[in-house]
């Protein structure tokens, strides 16, 4: 089962390694981990996507809560939240496939943010699944490099009510 953990932590040196270390030490998966500041500069928010059985999911939350630097843990299913990931993808193009690529970008709501005479750099911000799909669509083109941020997520507004 896939779960998203939104973890508020003290913004201190070494916290990222403590949290990441916890996952490897206890044999938990990390599908992705994103960390950034919150409105309060002393607090960071980590968004961790992980898969595991029910017992593992519960243990992850409990073990995260045990960490002294962890202020709060929210665990939720993908369906309960808005999830986004940003990808930059650099591809080689030629006269023949240039149109195709641009059309794909339009369909997937991706933008071409940089270009040279034979390469273009595309940016897309969407769910992980749609990003996978976009990569799939570009498979026929020669992909040079990919950089993905991993998922950030916040629970939907109605979950707060």
């Amino acid at each position: 089962m896939k779960r998203i953990y939104s973890v508020l932590v003290e913004n201190r040196a070494g916290v990222l390694s403590k949290v990441a270390g916890l996952f490897s030490r206890r044999n938990f998966n990390i599908d992705s981990l994103v960390v950034g500041e919150t409105a309060d500069k002393a607090v960071s928010c980590m968004t961790i996507v992980s898969t595991g059985d029910e017992r593992t999911i519960e243990q992850i939350e409990k073990q995260l809560n045990k960490k002294i630097d962890v202020i709060k843990v929210k665990t939720f299913k993908e369906s309960m939240s808005i999830n986004r990931e940003l990808m930059l993808i650099k591809v080689k193009y030629n006269k023949e496939n240039r149109r195709d690529i641009m059309e794909n970008c339009t369909i997937m709501n991706a933008q071409i943010v940089d270009m040279s005479k034979n390469m273009m750099l595309i940016q897309i911000c969407d769910t992980s699944e749609r990003i996978e799909l976009f990569i799939e669509m570009l498979k026929s083109v020669s992909i040079v490099e990919i950089a993905r941020t991993g998922t950030v997520a916040l629970t939907k507004c109605r979950e707060n009510q």
Partner: protein, 541 residues
């Protein structure tokens, strides 16, 4: 005031009586300032044992044990001791010197990233960057170590921070404000009432106690509750002594090294109260059996332990002493489970293990431990090491109102002598006996010098068989007697070691009057070693 003085002041504020440690340039400013206080220092002989000493001290005094060592190898040597304390949830503060702040990360002489290295074995760690943070950090560290699920906290302090002058006036905080750490103390009252109801309803209730009962100081409350409702009690290795071993309601240690009737009692119960126990593999190798056909209540201060190895019917998070006080207060209806207790007494009788007779010339381990236990003082501290000696100790030592210490979680060989030193320093009037094999003895015998230097009078029993017996036993069973890396040849003459350290020496074999010799050994004014000649082929079961 400089950083080193501030550290000392913090320790005074925490009423630290003694620090176990080792010297080195990076921790020297601190050792220099300790001279100006009444805090006792004990110079151990290798850093690992500083943590073990502090652990023994903490377990007997009920306070936080403190150890301090230098940077680099001093700090890394401490790791096994810290990990041992972590596995058994023993509250420790480990102070390590560190190289100058501006050199951190450049691999200078005696530099080690100790906060990184111990991350998986500490409850928390600090690297102090600003000298003015010292009071807050020490206050937090002691609080973290000694509350909730207890454990070691490491504080790494660079040399320059120890020497820097505080720019703020020193004041030791009275309160803690940590938004991210608030351990649960009181149990949920709804759950507590539910448990009381279950005890009332149950026909075959049983309590399994773990080390958490000692850590919470809840032994009296537990015994009272068990007596009030006629509930039999079994224990894990770490829980031994929570109820006197000769109590009519006590039915021994569970687990694959425990008593068959204790396991049977737990499996056949219809209500199991797991109290301050992790349900770890050595205590419960088939978790399904302890949840099958029964209500299982798991009481622990650490919510992460509940459901980690086994899913309980009723989880109850909180401090055991508080929870049992609530039980006693709210349970106005004492229950009668005497019939079940009688059944268990029957099991105990019929499932007695009969050990094979020992080979000629050797001492029967069971007989020896029983005799030792009989002639020891009722309130003595018994420290068992790791290996066959530990299993025999668990099986045959009768804890009356003393304590039983051992490294249960980590199983660290060489724990007993330093832990006994710490225990004796915590309570000098108590008789302290360490029981150890000849393998582990050679891992920690350097501390005989520490005993001598500080006049720490403890009695060391060496169960000598010329083997790493526990592993030999395993190789006997699992590898058909193909022995590898278990035979201890070239043993030193222990009588000469005793002599070298000014200790009394006794030795018993199959022909000795064990009781008479053991009485002499225990009543000798000096620290002493008693070698017990054990058959190398003797088994724990």
């Amino acid at each position: 005031m400089i950083g080193a003085e501030a550290i000392v002041k913090c320790l005074e504020n925490e009423n630290t009586e003694v620090i176990f440690g080792y010297s080195g340039v990076a921790i020297d400013p601190f050792w220099n300032k300790i001279l100006d206080t009444n805090i006792k220092t004990v110079l151990i002989r290798t850093e690992q044992n500083a943590a073990h000493c502090a652990s023994g001290f903490a377990r007997i005094s009920g306070k936080v044990g403190v150890c301090a060592v230098t940077s680099g190898p001093g700090a890394t040597n401490l790791i096994t001791g810290i990990a041992t304390a972590y596995a058994d949830s023993i509250p420790l503060i480990a102070i390590t010197g560190q190289v100058n702040s501006d050199m951190i990360g450049s691999d200078v002489f005696q530099e080690a990233d100790i906060t990184g290295a111990v991350e998986s074995f500490v409850k928390y760690s600090y690297l102090i960057r600003n000298v003015n943070d010292i009071p807050r950090i020490f206050k937090e560290a002691f609080y973290i170590a000694n509350t909730g699920r207890k454990g070691p906290v490491l504080i790494d302090i660079p040399f320059d921070v120890q020497c820097a002058v505080l720019t703020e006036k020193f004041s030791y905080p009275e309160t803690i404000s940590m938004r991210s750490y608030k351990p649960t103390v009181n149990g949920n009252i709804v759950q507590i009432r539910k448990v009381i109801k279950e005890v009332e309803k149950a026909e075959r209730p049983i309590i399994c106690v773990g080390g958490g009962v000692h850590l919470s100081g809840a032994t009296n409350e537990l015994v009272k509750f068990a007596e009030l409702n006629d509930v039999p009690v079994v224990s894990t290795m770490m829980g031994i002594g929570a109820m006197p071993s000769d109590h009519p309601l006590f039915f021994g240690m569970v687990g694959n090294n425990g008593k068959a009737y204790a396991n049977r009692a737990m499996n056949e119960s219809d209500l199991l109260l797991m109290v301050g126990a992790r349900v770890a593999d050595r205590a419960v190798n088939r978790p399904d059996l302890i949840t099958e056909n029964k209500v299982m209540v798991h009481i622990d201060v650490d919510p992460a332990e509940i459901g980690k190895n086994v899913g309980p019917t009723i989880p109850l998070v909180g401090d055991i002493k508080h929870i049992f006080n609530d039980f006693l207060q709210l349970d106005d209806h004492p229950d009668d489970h005497r019939k079940w207790v009688e059944t268990l007494k029957g099991y105990k009788e019929e499932m007695k293990t009969i050990r094979e007779p020992v080979a000629d010339g050797y001492v029967d381990p069971e007989n020896y431990i029983r005799t030792l236990s009989k002639v020891m003082k009722d309130d003595a501290i018994y420290v068992a090491d790791v290996g066959q000696n530990q299993i025999w100790s668990c099986a045959y030592h009768i804890v009356k109102n003393g304590r039983f210490l051992t490294s249960g979680g980590m199983g660290t060989m060489g724990y007993s002598i330093p832990a006994a030193i710490g225990g004796k320093i915590a309570d000098p009037d108590k008789q302290v006996v360490a029981v150890i094999g000849d393998g582990a003895f050679q891992m920690c015998m350097m501390e005989l010098a520490t005993m001598r230097q500080y006049g720490v009078n403890i009695k060391i029993v060496i169960m000598k068989n010329g083997y790493l017996g526990m592993v030999r036993e395993h190789q006997h069973k699992a590898y058909n007697d193909r022995y590898s890396m278990v035979e201890l040849k070239g043993d030193p003459d222990i009588s000469l070691i005793a002599k070298a350290y000014g200790m009394a020496y006794y030795c018993v074999d199959g022909n000795s009057d064990i009781e008479e010799e053991t009485i002499k050994f225990l009543s000798d004014d000096r620290s002493g070693i008693m070698v017990v000649m054990v058959d190398p082929m003797a088994l724990t079961r």
